[in-house]
Amino acid sequence: MEPSVKKKVMTVDDSRTMRDMVSFTLRGAGYEVVEAADGQQAMNAIATTKVDLVITDLNMPNMDGLTLIRRLRAIPAHRTLPILMLTTEADEKKKAEGRTAGATGWIVKPFNPDKLVSVVQKVCG
């Protein structure tokens, strides 16, 4: 696969383990992955890097996932950027909150690598 057509996914999670696992899985599936440890870092990075998909955790220091989604959606360029929530809970309330905030979809932790890849393919090709 040529690097120029590689889709770039940003994984936002304060857990290094989780970031490592998401990165590893997606890189293995041919995606380019950038990492951010919280919403604030993600916002900063997105200002300079174009990404095709954001996968964000909900609980994070500095800026949590829901805030990140709202902030991104408020930026015209990112109105239709796919943003997936990576949640530990299958909590409907949280999912509904995420949807209201503008999340594209969700992945439940712990994720199955194949499942993650198929979800990512579904939202960013």
Binding site: M1, P3, M10, S15, T17, M18, R19, D20, M21, F24, T25, R27, G28, A29, G30, Y31, E32, V33, V34, E35, A36, A37, N44, A45, T49, N59, M60, P61, R79, T80, L81, I83, T88, E89, A90, D91, E92, K93, K95, R99, G102, A103, T104, G105, V108, K109, P110, F111, N112, P113, D114, K115, V117, S118, V119, Q121, K122, V123, C124, G125
Partner: protein, 766 residues
């Protein structure tokens, strides 16, 4: 999941850090003043441990973390008030979590009932909280996390989405399926009518990808409907006006759930109709029995069967279905692995984890390089001046780069002392509870960096000292009040860099050392002659004597006795020193001075005959040339010298080590006055002091064998091996008589032995 097991170590490392974060936070939690940042940080720490634990299938750990997390969530939402009891329980929970983690790391099962008590204690707080309306139901979640492999059970996890799809399906009128040809054997024809709401794009969902995902499931024919397309003038590019009908010819492994999956996120924003058509029944037995997954029965409905009949949610995908689903991504993975090396690590990868062995090797290599560089420098010194200007300049910058390289490499191993300091709040808390005292711990300089080995070795001494400060130094609250002090005593722990060393101080504002009692105890123990007059400082230092630490005594009376000799031994084994300063009624201050690294030593190079030795700078008090009148011979050939008003035993190194051609008369050579860890002094008789130098420490034991009176070896600039003297060992040797002990290195033999290279060097320079 196997692929992800490689992240286990990261997980355990990270969890250890998170546990420390949680503990530090918990220790700062106090009733009344809630710091939300702190509470959130604790919550997140536990949450992350749980999340990662789930990924590796640590069921027990996850279940316990969940209980812990639920209580933290209650605290976070101000539903559970912070009380001392709560904090204690949470701290205990953190301990249990640590235990669960270490079991997980060892691959062992935690003993039955490990978590029971703590879970019960945690739930008690929850009981109170549950009375509060709006508290989320804590119970059902673990089931989802306990069996990571079950996550395809979307009926549970994605219930809402499926319900919506179900509803859409129930509404389904006569299908728009184009009446088509007969369905081929072994295939199912799915017809999917997909009419998204206009706002679909605003959630970041892209129908193209969903269609693509459908296409991956089989042979697809996609028809786009433009009936909702407005005129160009009314067109809003951000809204979606299209809809599609997809006719999908798929194998039996594609079941309803796989198709529903595609629309997982958009079920609420779409009108989706799905119907299936299979070949006539006679064909079905053609599928080899057992070849298809059990789900097939549900996935391949009877011909013309209307799915509306089935009110039950689609069956969970079977493992077989999951595996076949992986085929697509698997191919992509092959492609990606080739290009993997060039992947950019991303904006946050500012640190990497490195095996400590690698760094040790690096430190070692740099040590070798420093030695080689010094060796070259030594040879160059003998060259005729003025002839090799460029060589000299080159060597000079090489020397500078070597020095910088060494500092940088050493700094890789450097760690902030915060990793040790952060353990102390807990200790203080426990000691305070045990002694019934009120204690405030103040720390400063936590970011001061020092070599990892030094940091690790600080834990025990600091623990001892802080425990002593609280146990013996601080008064009880009532007593403090009587003497006009605040009820809570303060223990101040600080770290700072000072002239190439790290200085750590433990200060308390307690009662100070009770010198009268220390002295009487020392006399009673026979450590001090009755009637001897000691200065305050000397009395304070008595607490470091080994005799002071033997159980029963001093501690609860006055003393600082417990373990202080051990503390001093630990510190001196790190090449450090410890001092105590105390003012009665005002408190005490313990000062540790330690080298920044254990790989390099500040030493004084001395010569004895043809040999060179290195004395650790920390041991050296001064060097002087005695007058004949200062020297006093004793019967057993053990000379003493009067230095600064006290008698000091003289040790002739050449006699001790059997070195020929050395100066025996101290008035013609030099006496280096050294001090051991316990403050006793020795005068080492040497020929000459050659100068101060940083030397790279080489283990003598690892390369040769242990020698009395020798701590380690080093290689000097001229390539010669020099022994680094161990002052305490020399004192021991000199006590056992001045006769040269057997097994003592005689000149070149052991010196040449440590390494072949040094042997060569020696020949070169001789």
């Amino acid at each position: 999941m196997d692929d992800l097991s490689r992240f286990k170590q990261t997980y355990f490392d990270e969890s250890a850090e998170l546990l420390a974060v949680a503990e530090a936070g918990l220790l700062r939690l106090a009733p009344g003043e809630i710091d939300m940042d702190e509470v959130n940080a604790i919550f997140r720490a536990v949450h992350s441990i749980k999340g990662g634990g789930g990924a590796f299938g640590f069921a027990g750990l996850v279940a316990f973390a969940h209980e812990f997390e639920t209580v933290m969530d209650g605290v976070r939402n101000a539903e559970i008030p912070i009380t001392t009891g709560l904090v204690d329980t949470l701290i205990r929970a953190n301990d249990v979590l640590a235990r669960m983690l270490s079991h997980a790391a060892d691959g062992t099962e935690a003993p039955e009932g490990t978590t029971d008590d703590t879970v019960a204690a945690l739930r008690r707080f929850l009981g109170k909280a549950e009375a509060v309306p709006g508290q989320p139901e804590p119970a059902p979640e673990p089931a989802a996390t306990l069996h990571p492999d079950d996550e395809d059970d979307e009926a549970g996890i994605f219930g809402d989405a499926l319900a919506a799809i179900q509803a859409a399906r129930d509404d389904q009128g006569p299908s728009a399926t184009p009446a088509a040809d007969a369905v081929p054997d072994g295939k199912i024809r799915w017809t999917v009518v997909f009419r998204p709401k206009a706002e679909l794009l605003l959630s970041g969902n892209e129908p193209t990808y969903m269609l693509r995902a459908l296409r991956r499931l089989g042979e697809a024919e996609i028809v786009c409907h433009l009936d909702r397309l407005p005129s160009l003038r009314d067109l809003d590019a951000e809204l979606l006006h299209l809809s599609w009908t997809v006719t999908l010819l798929a194998g039996p492994e594609v079941d309803r759930a796989r198709i529903d999956d595609v629309f997982e996120f958009v079920a609420d924003d779409c009108d989706i109709r799905i119907s299936a058509e299979a070949p006539p029944p006679a064909v079905i037995p053609a599928i080899p029995p057992g070849a298809g997954p059990p789900a097939l029965q549900n996935a391949a409905p009877a011909p013309g069967a209307d799915l509306q009949d089935k009110a039950v949610p689609p069956p969970p995908a079977t493992p077989a279905a999951t595996t076949s689903g992986a085929a697509g991504p698997g191919k992509a993975a092959d492609g990606a692995r080739r290009g993997n090396g060039g992947d950019h690590a991303g904006p946050t990868s500012h640190t990497i984890r490195v095996d400590l062995d690698k760094i040790d090797r690096l430190v070692n290599m740099v040590g070798e390089m420093v030695i080689t560089q010094a060796m070259i420098a030594e040879h160059v010194r003998d060259l005729p001046p003025g002839q090799f200007q460029e060589l000299l300049e080159g060597l000079e910058s090489l020397a500078q780069h070597t020095r910088e390289l060494r500092e940088n490499v050493m700094s890789i191993r450097a760690q902030p002392v915060s990793s040790v300091f952060s353990r102390m709040p807990r200790l203080v808390r426990e000691c305070a509870a045990a002694t019934g005292k009120e204690v405030m711990l103040v720390t400063s300089g936590e970011t001061t960096e020092v070599d990892k080995t030094v940091v690790e070795n600080l834990v025990d001494p600091l623990t001892h000292m802080i425990r002593n400060s609280i146990d013996h130094g601080l008064e009880g609250p009532e007593e403090r009040e009587r003497t006009g002090k605040p009820r809570a005593g303060t223990v101040h722990l600080s770290a700072a860099h000072r002239s190439g060393r790290i200085v750590i101080e433990v200060t308390d504002d307690g009662r100070g050392i009770n010198r009268a009692k220390v002295l009487s105890k020392a006399i009673e123990k026979g450590l001090v002659q009755p009637g001897s007059s000691l200065s305050d400082e000397e009395i304070d230092n008595l607490i470091f004597l080994p005799g002071f630490s033997t159980a029963d005594q001093v501690s609860n009376l006055s003393g600082r006795g417990v373990g202080m000799d051990v503390v001093r031994r630990n510190i001196s084994s790190l090449g450090g020193r410890i001092g105590v300063y105390s003012a009665p009624g005002e408190g005490s201050r313990f000062v540790l001075s330690l080298p920044l690294t254990l790989a390099v030593l500040d030493g004084m190079v001395i010569s004895v005959g043809d040999e060179r030795f290195v004395l650790p700078l920390t041991n050296i008090v001064e060097s002087l040339r005695p007058k004949p009148a200062d020297l006093h011979g004793l019967v057993n050939k053990c000379d003493v010298m009067m230095a600064r008003g006290e008698y000091v035993r003289l040790v002739h190194l050449h006699r001790l080590f059997g070195i020929p051609k050395a100066i025996d008369d101290a008035t013609r050579g030099l006496v280096v006055l050294v001090e051991t860890e316990d403050g006793s002094r020795l005068g080492l008789v040497v020929d000459e002091v050659l100068g101060q130098q940083q030397v790279v420490i080489k283990s003598l034991e690892a390369n040769f064998r242990r020698l009395d009176g020798v701590a380690a070896a080093t290689i000097l600039g001229d390539g010669r091996v020099a022994l680094i003297l161990d002052v305490a060992g020399l004192r021991e040797m000199s006590r056992h008589g001045a006769a040269p002990a057997t097994g003592i290195p005689t000149t070149a033999i052991p010196l040449a032995a440590p390494a072949d290279r040094s042997d060569q060097r020696q020949r070169q320079t001789v």
